[in-house]
């Protein structure tokens, strides 16, 4: 039985080797059909040719399988980035079956048919692998984008020589606060600043989780020799913090970002003439 299978396999291998040009050409054609001209044919041909060769190598040498998987992952990744669907990508792989079958039919022999069944099963496995790596590739893209968004939504700005500020806007979840904290601490190091202002004017509610994140950031900044000022605590937030029982201890808090800046300037010995900090009333109540 196993011997029989081996003979059939060899037969198909030989068929793949002898008809490379014909099969490859047909494969490219089939896998390009649903793409409606989105991929340049040459690209597809080059990609599929590499996969074809790796496929042949993997039949001789079991170690070749990892190279083949690598190429299939590359295919999934590049197609995911170009906006193809996972089925379109998997179909491109399944297309090899159809291409080979046309040559098996011409051959007509029993060995070729039996070998084709084996080949068909192998290609199914490869197609499913492509499907899985496609999903993984797409998840990776989404995670990357989410991280980029997080980065973008937490700008740490240098207000003055030695003073940096981060305005927090919107709902603070753990992931975001983590990013804010890391970025603020990094900016303190990069700019050699001694003062950090965390402005929470745009934060609609401060609960124990947000407070704990804030407290940790302030403590970490202190360990690095920097002073933190929290600004933008609006009346309703102040009420809530006090009722909740959160204590900010000896952390300096200021009503507005302008107050915090003039405080930090004064502390670092900068004279500011005629500065009368305004009290900005900003509303951002979207929970």
């Amino acid at each position: 039985m196993a011997v029989q299978e081996n003979i059939s396999r060899r037969h198909v291998e030989a068929l793949l080797r002898d008809n490379e040009d014909g099969i490859l050409g047909r494969w490219v054609q089939i896998s390009n059909e649903p793409l409606r001209g989105r991929a340049v044919e040459n690209d597809t041909r080059k990609e599929l040719q590499e996969i074809y060769h790796a496929f042949l190598r993997s039949m001789e040498d079991p170690d070749g399988a990892s190279e083949l998987r690598g190429l299939l992952s590359d295919l999934s990744r590049s197609r995911a980035r170009q906006g193809f669907t996972p089925s379109e990508t998997a179909m491109a792989v399944f297309g090899l079956k159809e291409a080979v079958y046309e040559f098996v039919e011409t051959d007509g022999g029993e060995e070729a048919l039996r070998g084709f069944i084996w080949l068909s099963r192998t290609i199914d496995g490869l197609g499913l692998y492509t499907f899985e790596s496609f999903t993984a590739a797409r998840e990776k893209i989404i995670t990357d984008q989410t991280e980029q968004l997080l980065e973008l939504s937490t700008p740490v700005v240098k207000l003055w020589e030695g003073i940096v500020a981060v305005p927090l806007v919107g709902t603070l979840d753990s992931a975001r606060t983590q990013v804010v904290m890391e970025k603020l601490l990094q900016t303190l190091v990069d700019t050699g600043s001694e003062y950090a202002v965390i402005d929470i004017t745009g934060v609609p509610a401060v609960d124990t989780q947000v407070a704990q994140h804030l407290l940790k950031t302030v403590m970490a900044a202190r360990l690095m020799g920097a002073n933190c000022v929290i600004s933008g605590i609006r009346p309703q937030i102040a009420h809530t913090i006090v009722t909740l029982g959160i204590e900010f201890g000896d952390i300096v808090t200021k009503a507005t970002l302008a107050d915090a800046l003039s405080y930090a300037l004064r502390q670092s010995g900068v004279q500011v003439a005629g500065m009368r900090p305004g009290r900005a009333a900003v509303r951002a109540e979207e929970a």
Partner: protein
Amino acid sequence: MSHPPAPRTVEELTITSNDEVVTVRQKVRATAIELGFSLVDQTKVVTAASELARNTLVHAGGGQANITIVQNGARRGIRLVFSDNGPGIPDRQLALTDGWSSGGGLGLGLSGSRRLMDEFVLESEPGRGTVVTVTKWTR
């Protein structure tokens, strides 16, 4: 003689992820605004909702939040019920102590919510789950 109007359920929400905790907060805020709560009271109710929803998620692995509008004479109020089938709270007195946390929290969520709201009822049975019912009335 006169029957109090039946409470009106506004939302029944599940709490199984951080995103859903945010949804609870947003719906609570919308309901509080609809009832005409002041900005300070809105913020207090939203913050209490945030605490209790997060407790449901973190300490019980998820559960449910119900938002209802209740009436007492001329006064209207918002009632929030957080229920779960989690491990329950063995010592309710301890859990309500300021600064006590079984994890690394500030331990102010439960006790603080009690202060933020007008009414606070904590029911819990170890091994069965926890139900926290809080109400705030308009002024």
